[in-house]
Symmetry: D3
Subunit: 321 residues, 6 copies
């Protein structure tokens, strides 16, 4: 049914219990420490794109396990640099695409780093980053890779990459590394929350219709992928429910939002069956900053505010940096 989730008035104050493991902070501290044992080793290689008003770089940095992760850096040629930068994460099954697509933020006067998502990039937007790590039996897709153990879960590697992308942005050419914001939609919104929960000193966070929040509710509320990948996995691995939810608790956007202190502008859509609005509000209401706001698109599905939300982004960020 059209409005399938809680009414908006209820959502405004929706603050569900989401289990948080006792060693949540240790887990992430250890994970990041382990990753930082590898040099970040950022490489920014200029590429010829035919674009006349920006400079594009093919970026490689060391993410989780020291694995090379690709990104595109795009810097305005005109305006007063060094520029503040927006680090962007991609939606599920998409990759970083091509450099000619990365001109949105630069045309607003920001540098922009579009991170590739390891292993993804074959569904709707091309990617170039391998995920050189195998897994136990998994359901098709990325949601259940290594899901029986937080240490082996796919998103442990991706969240770590997201943090390392912020570190890469700080040292990128033409960039003012003290002014870094993060953003993205759907999976990219989930990664935005993760990055904001795991990095300090961000000037803004822009999660749109974020995925990866309040897994238990999401799985019981929607039949839509990618949340449903986990449900289908559990139809076969009937004994692993507790184990799976334990793993997911280390990655739940609600737990990460509790640790995020950057100013934030969220968005959600009330007919979004992919990332139900209650799960988005769960993260939004947990966000640990008074400087936060959320745009609600009543009649939209997972496309959310789309290009209208992009204008909101630009206006909101301009007022800060």
């Amino acid at each position: 049914m059209a409005f399938f989730d809680l009414p908006l008035e209820t959502l405004r104050d929706y603050r569900p219990d989401v289990a948080e493991p006792a060693d949540f902070d240790e887990f992430w501290a250890a994970t990041l420490k382990e990753a930082r044992a590898f040099d970040l080793d950022p490489v920014f290689e200029p590429v010829e794109t035919g674009l006349t008003m920006v400079t594009s770089y093919d970026v490689t940095f060391r993410g989780w396990g020291g694995h090379p992760v690709k990104a595109w850096l795009t810097v305005p040629k005109y305006g007063d640099g060094p520029f503040p930068i927006v680090v962007q994460y991609q939606g599920y099954n998409g990759g970083r695409g091509i450099p000619q697509q990365q001109i949105g933020w630069p045309n607003y006067g920001y540098a922009h780093l579009m991170m590739d998502t390891r292993g993804q990039g074959s569904g709707w937007l091309i990617g170039h980053t391998p995920d050189p790590v195998g897994s136990g039996p998994q359901h098709a897709g990325f949601m259940t890779r290594g899901i029986t153990d937080p240490a082996e879960y796919y998103y442990r590697r991706v969240y770590t990459d997201a943090v390392r992308a912020v570190e890469t942005a700080r040292v990128a050419p033409g960039v003012d590394g003290t002014r870094v914001a993060v953003g993205g939609g759907s999976q990219g919104g989930g990664l935005t929350i993760a990055a904001a929960g795991l990095c300090g000193d961000l000037v803004g966070a822009l999660p749109d219709v974020p995925f990866l929040c309040q897994f238990e509710r999401a799985i019981g509320l929607t039949d839509a992928d990618p949340y449903a990948e986990i449900a289908r996995y559990l139809t076969v691995h009937r004994q692993q429910e507790e184990q799976v939810y334990r793993t997911l608790s280390y990655f739940d956007g609600v737990n990460l939002a509790r640790r995020a202190t950057a100013p934030a502008l969220f968005s959600t859509a009330l007919m979004d069956q992919v990332c139900p609005p209650s799960t988005v509000f769960a993260a939004y209401n947990a966000w640990n900053s008074a400087d936060k706001d959320i745009r609600v698109y009543r009649f939209n599905g997972h496309e959310g505010g789309s290009y209208d939300q992009s204008v909101e982004h630009a206006t909101w960020l301009r007022s800060r940096v």
Copy 2:
């Protein structure tokens, strides 16, 4: 089935008979003359967008019937102007959107005029141009508005608008009006063909997965909208088949392609059930210029080459202007 249309080798030489009314040229000459009886009256109103490297204008010109038609003009702030310009037409149900979306061609060093499609702009991209003309009984959608009479057919107005948009581009601020190209995907591809068939002196035409070509084959080959709107209309108006096809013959992209002399770069996709590849090749093979090429995307549906095709566009056009 996956490859549902003719094999590629056959498509290369596919030149079907498409009926052309004896008074085709008179019809269009009269139509344009009638439209030009109204002053073009182009207005270019600068708008504030937050974009730092382009200048945006809210454009109004007089299209068919002297009706005001909206567009966005976007001109690079940097580089050596006056700039050549690409006039773009939109896909079915979409409108001109917002000015912040129009930065693709300007970032390649071209001015850009995005024409609104009258009455449309409520399906996936916002539009702002009314179609102040009613119609007889019609099927939902735009395909059957006035379909019983070429003089009253919806696309008579839209094709005319497309020509007037070219005329508007020629006099736009910061633009070199002698170097105008046209382009668009799907319905926008059909309008590109129409503009190229009805305007001389274009430096290029870029129709992607074009719609509005070889109607009779398309309607018998695919159940997909919007071609199927016509079939559904005829399920009720069983006696109007001949009349409907007569009307459509004045608007068939194959007949317009025969009159188009600009250099052209087409694209098509072999799994495109919305605009089947044979109907695209019918127009391509009829195109009246030796300087033409077509990109074939074998595994894609109606999305065609998407962002990869955009890069093809830029490279191809750069080599000409």
Copy 3:
């Protein structure tokens, strides 16, 4: 889910708040006055149909804007005339069809006027009435034509036509113009409510599974067209929600039912996802007459009581005229 709406016991007393504009009555008084500035000019042209027991007329009258609206008048050849008459309105996308279909009421001893719906009549039943009025950007279908302004909304014209059809029935040949009833299903049910709310002196109203009632609830409750056309329009025109709902409030069947005083027999179906039962009860419970009843079909969808309800109609109306 099967029973997706409120339980029947709750529906019996369901009386939701539906916003009513302060100038509702002025709006409609002005609209009708404006329409009546044009002569009704009813023309009843006998047509040869091959039918042996009824006389058929091709009817034209002046509706909104003085535009010609078509209808079929069918009068029994046998029995004691002049006959009471039922004015019927058609479902969405359908037209008046052909005269040979109009024999239901005449075979019960009533004259019958089947009004064409302007612009419609190409979806499942043929129509012959143009809607010579254009509109701003709209979604495919009729629901969003002119939806930003009550004065320009498509249904302003159609509701007016419905009233004028009643006036035409009163002066039709072989008809007792003092005994006029109105009826129809789905959109025809909505028009029945409109006619009954805007005309006095009706001997009965027969709205089946009526559409166009309590828009706000309907849009949030069902994904089915045609209500969903409005939702999809608002996915793009994100800023127009308030404006759209304001327009719709002038056309909401609940507001019109409050003004309807004719005896009424409604019907609804509990599995009807097109016109959800709660929205029907909202209108039924608001109906301003003690002489009213409603048939509830528990297991049906939008087909409702179908031919069984037709027998209910005949029995109910026979007991009154």
Copy 4:
């Protein structure tokens, strides 16, 4: 795909081989003889319907096995009787409905007998005739009841009922039993062909989009029910293919059409996936009378010519009786 069957030019001469069992005529002669061992015993009970211009009768006659079969007889009250009569058979899953629906032919000046289909009448139109015969294992629906043996096949009973309905019509009150026509759509079209192949002395046959023709091609060409019921049965009863096709050959409309000598007006629709046009032309081209014609609806599906075809019926039959 839209036009999924052979092109119309090919269909015009499509005369496939359809297997005919050597004892086809003996089978049907014996079947009818066996049925006629029971008295026809027609009962015509007047019913009160509220209709003012026709007389309605609840009819019972003895069909196959002497089982009571229900029908509605409807006779005009006005005009010069005794009237010629049209016997009509119903589409799949439908029953005879209610008497108030049976006024179409009477309003053209014909009596009308609507035969109930035993066991059916619970899908879209109510029925009242049991089929007091069980069957071996069957797929849901009626197509595979007793399909392993022609003597036990469901349609042996129904075809016999169809013949007995003609015999009932000949003795009905107010009817001129020398002028009997048969008609129906879909399954009703198949029964029309069967009745015309098994009865002499009919003044006309009106099969629309007939079902039950050239089973082998139909099953291989369409996934649509009810033909597909047989295919699904054979997915389980893998060893019965030959046996099943042998049974069906006694019931194939092509074999029955070869024996039909009445004047005939067929109809078919080129996008009809339920009863593909080639299977209809197979029967039409086999029809054993020079006085035959077929209406082809190019863009329609299984609804075929619908009400337009009804007008064709009336005109065609009027010119004969």
Copy 5:
């Protein structure tokens, strides 16, 4: 939506009112007495299967009306016989299949009788038992055969067959007839409940995701077949609702569970839209034995616990016999 039924905590105590006819016990006593007027006449014919460790018998016994009902008996060749036996009933549209499939329980050291379901066995698993009883008008499928009268309802025959199968098992060769358990999934689960409610002296009952429980709720809660067959029947037979529910009350698994005293192991799945979990808990909570348990599969649909549940079965039954 994913979890569409009541929450698990609520289900644990879900004890709805289900109407029970006053003569429920008389009805079944009379039915069984009538059936037992025919000799059971069990025949066990050894069949050659190629299987090396079990003996297979093609079984025929007299079920309702003395009609022959087929089954497969499979007895271990090795181990200490005579063996306890599990009588199994099949899911909807399936038959007894082939003897080579019946080796599951024998490999656990139990004899096994797989009963054929009369008339079924053409949907996914072959059957060989006719249902030599016709019916009034019915919807496709088996749910509405004779549904207007408990005495003629299809499941009266099948429930009786299920009881007679238990009696057959008691006298089967190589079997210890004092140790009989019953089991099955979906329709087989419903029959398991029926057999346990109508037979004494069973050592266990194993209903998985049982069908045929709390009809009224099921029909209002799910659109899935086979429950929906009844709803669709009632869309046409609008006047029969009360009559239909009266019939069903004699067959409702909740009423039968109240009379079942054998130890039981149920299973249900929380995403099962075919046999919603609340309807299963309704029967489970009504079950008249303290020795009962239920396995709940949270993420599964109608497949429930599948092979995992089979292991549960074996373990549970081993601990009892």
Copy 6:
């Protein structure tokens, strides 16, 4: 459409060109040599299952890269051992399941080894074997893991595992290692062909509705997964078509069938849209042994002959070993 592929008569002789890389044999020789550099290291651990007539072992052997691969070994307790053995491979997304399911072949007097498919086993049947190898960007599922390079392609690992499973079977307890057959359905059928093409000395091969044959035709003929995973990958990786097809040529069942010399019994189904019958016949007709046969199921989809085919298997294999 129902029969969507070539007619059966054409299929009987269908021998398409399938590209074979010049170094095909070297590639596989090197691959197997590399794998055999690791000890096979088979471990057979008895497991308690509750089954009374077979012995079950949890098996681990070293597959590609020396990675541990799981399997179940099931050996009859009764009959004259050592027993011949059937090695079985699983369908796509399934794992080895549980030992209690593995009793089919043992009950016919054969030992049985069910190999787990690395990484799979979370779709419909549980698996326990990790695939500890990552990949470049891939589409969801397994078809495109490492697809840009034959050396890194997922199926290089799985095909190698399949060969190593045969080697494991040869040394299994209670087994006569000189009499090994292979079999499986769908992906399991493709692995059967691979094993038979890469291993000598097999006594039989039983590929049912095999997958992984004639990729190029399959991808152009069906929209069904898993073939379509490759097509969707290529919608994004538009430049990799040639590279992808080159990789696949090393794994094409047609090329492997050319090298297979064991007696074989294939099966295919003419309505199978997952593994189209032409692609199966392409492999069957290429099979390099005169002792081969194929069962054709005309009306079935991808389920093919199901349990009927299992009986065919047993009969066919019994006549050989």
